[in-house]
């Protein structure tokens, strides 16, 4: 037997669409200039936020549900190997076939070979974060397989040759007029008189996709959960496109992250109360489908499931960050995030935007993935995401931990010290000795001179300029706190015990009470 040292030899790094093409600050700066985007986002996030608060306040046991949800997920992580085995046994017993994928490349290859086996070149798809994460559509397209997104928002994004910007409403950055223009240009047979009325736009999508649904032989989906005790998979949706994909084709291929397991059937009683209320702000989403392997003539005859790691085991190994895997992708955290509201989802680069993206992406890829190292800084640490999260993921705490990991990683990589390192070294030298600090404080009046007449400093050199580029610094005081304190002591000593007595005696009794 080999001795395990607790250090995993290989930690597969998440790949696919988990990376930003550019660092968050660069992307955010550009996105912030887009007035239309900001207006659309503000409207959308505030609408869902208000709805969420209303339906959450209807439940007297909301906090109990959150607590159970959080603890169930903790339990799942702790028992993952056994639950995965249990799920596989139950799913397989009902005629389903399971495939395991270490990373995006393997998952894409499995899905491709399953589609090829059917001889089809066009497949219909239900909205799924996992398939987006692995870049399945792009991969299939490169091999001549057309994957049609059937969720309205995903269709808008796909037809617009765009990227999703929100995990629940991926086209949140587009308004109705922009959507009308996309449909007019891209949907065959769309009426040239199509208006921007949402009803008309939805009807156009319905007509276009109906024909696809009726003829599709293969569908691809994600799953909101897989229940270990029964082998059941579930998809939660609104439009019925999910039901179409899960019911009509002959072959159904589902891609699901290994963390989506729930132990028991009764756990749905927790998660199906938490999820719809937190995501769309509805008491329940219009449609949920549950299937357990194959069932007679009801639904697809070939049922496949791809179990995906893609960095999840790496995140699991990070004991402080592990709870990011509890995420049920409700999107409540992004709807309350002041940073997301202003930058939008594209700035985060990865499939997962907003507060959860800022922790999940670097956890899946490793903080040393250069493009994702700036994500943990994309937060004001206000804590709104933690309050909103239905499974109580402490996002701010994980952000801070990842920032520390980033700083450490940077240090071990770099040889020459940075300006920040020099500054910090200097600060530590000065602050660790009273004499040194005293000496430096003699420079304060020079700062007042620099501040000029208005007593504000609006430009500093080097990295300190990062601070003054967005705000002014008030001029330093005439004397330091330490000087003022010393003065005070001196004064008190010169006044002797008098001062003490005076203050003791000050509220002089004006009469005799109680005698």
């Amino acid at each position: 037997m080999s001795i395990n040292l607790g250090i995993p030899a290989v930690r597969t790094r998440g790949e696919g669409n988990l990376f930003a093409h550019e660092k968050f600050p660069t992307a955010a700066k550009r996105e912030l200039k887009n007035q239309q985007l900001r207006a659309n986002l503000r409207h959308a996030t505030h609408t869902i936020r208000d709805k969420r608060i209303n339906v959450v306040s209807e439940l007297p046991d909301w906090e109990d549900l959150r607590e159970s949800g959080s603890r169930i997920k903790e339990n799942v992580m702790a028992r993952l190997p056994e639950l995965l085995e249990q799920f596989e046994a139950a799913f397989t017993a009902r005629g389903g076939v399971i495939h395991w994928a270490n990373d995006a490349t393997e998952a894409n290859a499995i899905v491709t070979s399953l589609i090829r086996a059917t001889g089809e070149t066009e497949v219909v798809k239900v909205k799924s974060m996992a398939t987006q994460e692995i870049g399945l559509n792009e991969h299939l397209e490169s091999l001549g397989i057309n994957a049609i997104e059937t969720d309205l928002a995903e269709l808008i994004v796909q037809l617009g040759h765009d990227r999703p910007s929100h995990i629940l409403v991926p086209a949140i950055h587009k308004n109705r007029t922009q959507i009308r223009d996309i449909f007019r240009a891209e949907i065959p047979n769309a009426s040239p008189d199509l208006t921007d009325n949402p009803k008309e736009l939805a009807a156009t999508a319905r007509a276009y996709l109906r024909e696809k649904f009726l003829n599709a032989k293969v569908a691809i989906s994600g799953a909101n959960f897989g229940i270990a005790e029964t082998g059941t998979l579930g998809v939660v949706e609104s439009e019925g496109n999910g039901r179409m994909c899960l019911t009509l084709p002959e072959t159904l291929i589902t891609v699901m992250g290994i963390e989506k397991i729930l132990p028991r059937w009764e756990d749905l009683g927790v998660f199906m109360q938490l999820l719809p209320r937190s995501s769309t702000g509805e008491r329940m989403n219009p449609y949920s489908s549950l299937w357990t392997g194959k069932n007679g003539q009801d639904g697809p005859q070939n049922i496949h499931l791809v179990m995906l790691d893609n960095g999840r085991t790496r995140a699991l190994a990070d004991k402080n960050g592990r709870s990011a895997l509890h995420c049920i992708r409700c999107s409540a955290c992004m709807n309350v995030c002041p940073v997301y509201e202003r930058t939008g989802g594209h700035a985060y680069g990865s499939t997962y935007p907003g507060p959860i993206g800022a922790i999940l992406s670097p956890l899946l890829t490793g903080i040393t993935a250069e493009e994702n190292s700036s994500l943990p800084y994309a937060s004001s640490l206000c804590g709104a995401c933690f309050d909103a999260c239905p499974v109580k993921i402490n996002i701010p705490e994980i952000l801070i931990d990842l920032r520390a990991q980033d700083v450490e990683a940077q240090h071990s990589v770099r040889k020459a010290p940075t300006e920040m390192d020099v500054l910090m070294k200097g600060a530590s030298w000065a602050l660790s000795s009273g004499t040194r600090l005293k000496f430096l404080e003699k420079g304060l009046p020079a700062g007042r001179l620099l501040a000029g007449k208005d007593q504000r400093i609006s430009w500093l050199p080097g990295i300190a300029g990062g601070w003054t580029s967005s705000r002014d610094i008030p001029a330093p005081p005439q004397s330091s706190f330490r000087d003022q304190w010393a003065q005070r002591e001196k004064f008190q000593k010169s006044q002797g015990p008098q001062l003490f007595q005076q203050s003791q005696a000050s509220p002089k009794p004006t009469g005799k009470q109680g005698e």
Partner: protein, 210 residues
């Protein structure tokens, strides 16, 4: 990828090494409701109307008439093979076809069918959710999906108040559809539009025992 499973599981085991043993899961959330049947019916009706479904509450003796009224404009109706034949007997002018696992109606024909009539397994008043579980009175999932109108009968005795009460009444191995209002989207500027891909008209009949 035979090896991938072992790779993944072994990485999971290593990641978990040295952890404290798992603790019990607290379940302090509500496990049962407090409403009587009359309140349950009112509550469910309220929720369904909020979702833009049409609702009738009738006595068992009036069920046939209520069904006929909802199906007044349908030229063709599909029913699952286990449905009580009396339910559809009042619908005079429509072609009625019966679907079963042995003789499934082809999807093109379903697409040309105006309406479907089914029963339901359990309903949750608090969230306005009607659950179909693929048993013979509800049929294959395709029949309640493709036609444009779904007339769904909810026996009052199958209504519960909250979701945790509904789950023990369901068979996990049966394919299930949970329905809360007609098909809808909010993808365009968060404005709710009813009727995208599923039935655009959901007509619910809650039947009280006579």
């Amino acid at each position: 990828m035979v090896g991938a499973k072992e790779d993944i599981l072994s990485r999971v085991r290593v990641a978990l090494q040295g952890d404290a043993p798992v603790t019990d899961i607290p379940r302090d959330y509500r496990q049962s409701g407090t409403m009587n049947q009359e309140q349950l019916i009112d509550h469910l009706t309220d929720r369904l109307v909020d979702y833009k479904a049409e609702v009738k509450v009738v006595l068992a003796t009036d069920l046939q008439g209520a069904i006929a009224e909802f199906l007044a404009n349908a030229r063709s109706v599909v029913v699952p093979h286990g449905l009580d034949a009396q339910w559809i007997a009042g619908v005079a002018d429509a072609d009625v076809v019966t679907d079963s696992s042995e003789a499934p109606v082809p999807v093109d024909q379903l697409n040309a069918t105006d309406a479907v009539l089914t029963s339901s397994a359990v309903s949750v008043a608090e969230s306005g959710t009607i659950i179909l579980d693929g048993t013979p009175t509800q049929g294959r999932r395709a029949i309640s999906l493709v036609p444009d109108q779904h007339v769904c009968v909810v026996p009052a005795s199958t209504i519960v108040e909250i979701l945790p009460e509904a789950l023990p009444r369901l068979q996990p191995s049966h394919p299930q559809t949970w329905i809360s209002g007609p098909s809808a989207t909010s993808d365009i500027e968060l404005e709710r539009v009813e009727g995208v891909h599923g039935p655009r008209r959901l007509s619910v009949i809650i039947v009280e025992d006579a």
